[in-house]
Symmetry: C2
Subunit: 354 residues, 2 copies
DNA sequence: TTGTAGGCGTTATCAT
DNA sequence: ATGATAACGCCTACAA
């Protein structure tokens, strides 16, 4: 049987008010009484009921996190930062996963509102127009992670995707590449993919290079899709000399497609990634990438909720930009002018996870 | 301003009891009244206060999850199963991460007890003796995932690590390997590492093969450590023909060390992994592994809490065994009797994540 | 079918 | 320093 504050009061022969004082430390209690209470607590194995406490306190020390995919290490690394910072701020972390399902997204948004969480951090794959509207009209504090959009009015943490992409494209160009494949994401209204594409385009333009739409493809963050995209480059016998994938997993998919067809990376084709998840370093060749401070992004998101006043968000001043950097590793080299074409395209099975 | 059930009652001109009835559906309400209430709810944008509801219902629809590492995709995949099943059972998922810190482990165990969660699922790296004791004496329902121990008295979900390991070792032997390196984990009292080692040993014994302790090493689930272990095999000029790593990441670390020194996998040395996280398939060569149904393990853990009575746990009958399988891919081949030794061991930098 | 009222376990505001 | 007691928002007998 679970014991309540009343049981403790009875056992220690004091009022419940006194018990409450010793557990909250909200007021002085005579040491000997305090001792009696403490003993009663431990002998009865008493723990305060959180629901009751939250109810009377009118505040919910929990932060909700709404993610698209928990198995993704990108999510995991941000989540890790969120969790750590919540520990220091004494927030509970409530996690829900949508799998990218827009219905679930709407449902959980309402659930979280019902729970009246202290804040909600969203780590979505893509931003649907309907969701954006809903988000803007929510009464709870929402922080958007790594996604942005002109219609959005809630605070956001992200890197400067435009600059990062511009920088990486410049780097590729500096290595002599002119035909640069670009695997982007998130059609829709999402600024994530848009900013990255703009950065790529501008860098090309600044070097008087043509943006050839045959080389600009839409992925969906999956390795399978980028594998297919590169496979089509091979089938079409029209391979760019470098491929800029806007996620590490997509970069790996691209390299795998290349390798499975006897292209060498980076000798024949250079491939670069985006994010710098752990796998970017585990994979061989190690990926040259744009590094995003995922863990820090998570911690900042929590701070934005905990110290809302300090940030003083307005509709103009609502996005916190985190630093990124370009990390040179092994998957990118100088352009190879005489890239060999394989004798003939092969037949491939699709890659799937058993 | 957040509205309560009273506001709704006033707006709809009924009692709060009636409002409560329409939101819970616990009793019949005249359709027109019901309609009025519904309208009031939506116009006031009312959401029931979860704390109040939980308080009066005397139950806490939340399941705690205590993990060691959120960035690990092993954790992510189990968590994903947990989350999904919690959705269907209408549980909230409260996540805490310890980073393997035993103090934090104890702290969170108490926190969860205080919250009186419906159940607590633990996904630890290793099982410390002190923790085991604490776990056994807890009043809340705990489910242990993927770890076991003779001292433990709480329900557990896991695969049969002994059989899995036995099977994999047999497979290696069937490929002609006799000198098989084994990278194990979790010293302590943990059955996880122990069972796997026993399986390896038995398979060797059953084939009259010597278990050479020079080839049995302790990793810590990290890629860095297994990299170092294999590097030492090279330095010692004493390389087994196959390496059985008890986690995929450690297998990748082993392969990377091999590759960085011009050993070919699987031509020169075979390497196999354990778990089958997504990376096992993304990496090249694709890893031959023991597959663990991580997602299902997560779902089962939740079911064990939700349908506790059905499982009828006793101290003898407390572990639920999930099916595993051996998946043949590319990282393991027949033994190479004439494995070349590199001219001389090189100097390596340690692998670190920036 | 609907309303009244008691109680869930806490915290906090009064007195004392 | 301590003890009554009134909230907190909700559910549910019990009455009407």
């Amino acid at each position: 049987m679970i014991s309540t504050i009343k049981d403790v009061a009875k056992a220690a022969d004091v009022s419940i008010a006194t018990v409450s004082r010793v557990i909250t430390g909200s007021a002085q209690v005579k040491p000997e009484v305090r001792q009696r209470v403490l003993e009663a607590i431990s002998s009865l194995d008493y723990r305060p009921n959180i629901s009751a406490r939250n109810l009377v306190m009118g505040k919910n020390r929990t932060i909700g996190v709404l993610v698209s995919d928990l198995t993704n290490s990108f999510t995991g690394e941000i989540l890790s930062g969120i969790e750590e910072m919540c520990q220091t701020f004494k927030y509970d972390v409530l996690v829900c996963s949508t799998g990218g399902d827009i219905k679930k997204e709407a449902y959980y948004l309402e659930q979280f509102e019902g729970k009246q969480v202290a804040g909600l951090i969203m780590i979505p794959w893509k931003l649907h127009a309907e969701t954006v509207e809903k988000i803007n009209s929510m009464t709870i504090q929402i922080i958007m992670v790594n996604r942005n959009n002109s219609k959005l009015t809630v605070p956001t943490v992200a890197i400067d995707n435009y600059k990062a992409s511009y920088q990486m494209t410049n780097y590729l160009i500096s290595k002599g590449h002119k035909r640069i494949g670009f695997i982007r994401n998130s059609v829709d209204v999402d600024f994530f993919g848009l900013d990255q594409y703009r950065g790529y385009k501008q860098a090309m333009l600044d070097h008087l290079l043509e943006v050839d739409q045959r080389y600009v493809k839409y992925g969906d963050f999956s390795m399978e899709n980028s594998y297919r995209i590169v496979k089509n480059f091979i089938v079409d016998r029209d391979m760019p000399t470098a491929i800029f994938a806007t996620s590490d997993i997509m970069a790996i998919g691209a390299i795998n497609a290349l390798r499975d067809n006897d292209y060498k990376v980076p000798e024949d084709v250079s491939v670069v990634g985006f994010n710098n998840v752990k796998m970017a370093l585990l994979y061989r060749p190690r990926l040259t990438v744009i590094h995003q401070p995922l863990y820090s992004i998570g911690t900042v998101a929590v701070k934005m909720i905990a110290n809302k006043k300090d940030y003083n968000f307005t509709s103009e001043n609502r996005v916190v930009i985190m630093p990124h950097k370009l990390i040179e590793r092994e998957s990118c080299g100088p352009v190879n002018m005489n890239m060999k074409q394989p004798p003939s395209p092969r037949i491939w099975g699709e890659e799937t996870i058993e």
